[in-house]
Structure formats: C-alpha cells, structure tokens
Symmetry: C2
Subunit: 278 residues, 2 copies
Amino acid sequence: MRGEGSAVSGAPGAAELRELLSEARGIVRQTRALIEAALKEGFSHRSKADGSFVTDVDIAVEEKARTLLASRFPAHRIIGEELSDTGSGQALTWVIDPIDGTKSFRHGVPLYGTLLALLHGEDPVLGIIDLPGLDRTYSAARGLGTRCNDEDLKLEDLGADEALEKEIIGIGDRQQFVSAGRANVFDALMEAHPAVRTYTDCFGHALALEGSVGAMVDFDLRLWDTMASKVLMEEAGGRYVSFQRAGEGLRDRRFDVVLGKPRVVEWVLDRITGQAEA
Amino acid sequence: MRGEGSAVSGAPGAAELRELLSEARGIVRQTRALIEAALKEGFSHRSKADGSFVTDVDIAVEEKARTLLASRFPAHRIIGEELSDTGSGQALTWVIDPIDGTKSFRHGVPLYGTLLALLHGEDPVLGIIDLPGLDRTYSAARGLGTRCNDEDLKLEDLGADEALEKEIIGIGDRQQFVSAGRANVFDALMEAHPAVRTYTDCFGHALALEGSVGAMVDFDLRLWDTMASKVLMEEAGGRYVSFQRAGEGLRDRRFDVVLGKPRVVEWVLDRITGQAEA
C-alpha cells in the first residue's frame, strides 16, 4: 500500500489525454519509419538471456521513443522492454514495447507491431498498437474511444443467435502456456473449438479489437505486451480480463489475458476455469 | 491407365509458359480488383453443405476468372472450388480457388488469397498465390523460377549450424487434421517444437516460399488448395511433399502436404511418420 504522501495525483483529463494521444501517435509515426528503413536496409539480431531474440531495430525503436518522450515529458517515468527504466514514483509512466513479435519480425512475418501505453499509477489511460506490416494504427485514450487509423472502432458483441463455433479464437504460442504452467489451457481450447488460431502478439490483440477473432487468449505476458490492449479494448466496448501473477515490481509481473467480445470472452473463461493448473 | 489414344500431349515449352503466366497474372490483377471493391462495399455469405462458408465474392471471383480463361483458352479444362467443371479430357487444366481462406476473409483477417494453377495432365506447371491483404503476388512456371511481385524468390535451406527450434513451423487449423483422422500429428508437432503456428491457408504457403516459416504442414486439402504451391515451392528451390488420399476424380482427392526448406520438411516428416494413424 502506498502512504498518503506518495498517493497518485489526479488522472489526466480529456483535454490532456487528447494532447498526449496526439503526441504518442506522432512518436509512433517516427518509430514506424525506423522499422520500414530497417526492413529495406537489413538488420542483425542476437539471443537474449531468456532465449528470445532482440534485433538492432528493437533497440533503435526503443531509444527513439524514449528520446522523444523524455524531451516532451521530462517528468514522466519510462519503462521499456529492452532498456533500463528512467524516473520512478511518478504518477504517469510510459510503457514501450518497441517490437512486439520480434520472432515474426526477424523471420519476415509481417504480423509484428510497436506498443505504447501510458499508465496513471498502474491503470493504462492511453494505448497504441502500431502494425507497420499491415499499415494499421490502433489508438485509444480513456473516455476518448478507440480508432483504427482515423476511423472510430466499436466492437459488437456476438449476437445471442450467432454460433460461437463460427467465430475464430486467437491464441498465443503454446510455448507461452507451457511457461505459465498452463499448457492444458492451450490444448483444451484447441480441442473445444474448430478454429483456435495462433495469431500471436499484438496482431492477435488487434484482430480482437476488430472483432475478426471473437477473443484473444494470451498468457505469460509482460507489462509492455498488454497495457495498451486494456484501454484499447475497453474503449472499443469489449471486455479485457487479466490474471496477474506475482512479481515484485511492474517489470517482473506476468499477465494472463483474455480480451474480445464479451460473450466469447465468457465462453473462454468457462473453459479456462474448468482446467486445473497443470 | 490411360489408353494411347488419350495420352497427354506434350507439356508447354518455356515460351508458351511465359505467355500463359503473363495471362494468368493479368487475370489475378482483375480478381484482386473485385475483392478490393467488395471489401469497400460489403458482401454477404452463406453456409455450404460441408459447413464451411462461401461469400458472394468467392462466386464472383471464380466467375470472373472462368470467363477470362474461357475466352482466352477455349480448349482448356477448368476446375474451380465453387462452380462446375467445364471441358474434360484436355491436356491442360486450370484450377481456381477464388478465395482460399474464406473464413479469414469473412472475419476481416487479411490473410486470404486467390489461387490459380495450370495442370499438364495432373502435374502443375504454373501457379499463382495472390494475397490482396498483403499486396503480394507469388507466381511461378516450370523452368521459369518463382517471383514475389516482380522480384525473383529463392528459398535457402536451413544451414547445418542453424537450430531448428529457432524456426517457425506453419500449420493448418487443428480441425483439418481432425478431418484427416490425424489430430495426433497436429498435437505432436505442437508439443515437439516451440513455435508451431496456425498460419492457415495460402498465407502459410506464402510464408514457406519466403522462408519465414521453415515448413508449412497442411492436411486435408483439396486440389485447388495446393496445386499452385507445388510449382511455386519447387521452382523456388524448396521441397514439396504430398500424401494423396483416395478420390475418384481430381475434385474428390485429399492432399496432406508439407512444404518448405528441405531440412525442416525432413524434420517434420520424421515426426509425422512417428505418429500412427489415429
């Protein structure tokens, strides 16, 4: 529990959020340009301690976003996937995933993206998913709605007369569920529904915003993988459910999330709770 | 066995194939325009007898391709997914899948495509995968190589020092393996490798051509789902392995295919043959 002295000050209002969103979209336009240049010119990669990959481009994009954020918002804290945190104890924290889906990016699968979120305390109030490979930018701020590029995006729930098995369900890599000790959830969903597809990373989250998948089921996420999606999905009118797992600080937590059309999310949750932990 | 009287006449030579490929690419430009118009204007869909969907657009695209092919090549046979065969006993047969990935298309997932192949007898000598949602057209003809848009495409095998587990493996929907009586193959591959992803339909085949996935494993296919991929993959320098299952005519056959980098295809085949039929 925070003491009174460090209580989070008031959340930004609509006018401030509109300004913050405009700035954030401008930053993402610049990071996208970096990514597009790297795809033309080539880039190198190396393995990280956890066995995953990082490329030159992940680092360059995070550095670019940090530089732009720090110059515009020097008082805000910044957490990013690849580099050390700056600032602390601030009311407002930017969270950056420079390339979500590095495995896809490295292999030339165009289904990766850049994620940017702004937290007030621990609550995301602004979120962006930018998908350079599909030329789509999803953006939202609390109370201001969700947009894809410049179009308003509203998610319709599955109708009571619509068959759940005609939907597509998005899901992360099985390996994420293995890491979370819940491979049985992955296997059970695959058996329970005829079209459970590994639309991994932010691409799957974007499909859930569009209603292209009825729900996205993504386990063992880090903060930067999912904060943008919470505000994007809630502002689009959909449901976002997250099970947090222990971690001392924000960097260390793990999130198991289900997001999408409320009826489909409910169906998924019923199947998850039916599965004992492996 | 065919009698001598109906023997397949000589395969088209390089000059004729070049001409046929140019015509086929022109046809696919026109079908893509139809698809793009439909995405703007909206379309309706209905269920087919097998429980899958067909949209107005599937029908309109196949009709357009058939009309163009019949006017240009009146002596050729035409087989398509949605409409009745025309011609018979011809040496050359066009095979059309107007929208491969109708489920994706209907749900707004941009990973569907139009497939066109030309068979000489039963051997594909020309193939096109057109992906309107990604603005990519893969084309090949026997002896002429494979291209993505206007760039030559050559697939490099996985190096002997490169780790197989760093590759991505593409796979069809689990339901296809259930239909083929081989759900155990799907489940075994998912367990055996950390990144087996359901990049379904021609999108997965295109990723295999690019080397973005090391191999694509796609079961229970029909003729029109896979003939283009055979010539595209072989001309790109990769390996294409197909297990045919019974069917009286070409329309009725089922194909279980694995295609991609030779070393990765070999790895997949080892796992498949290790699995008894369920």
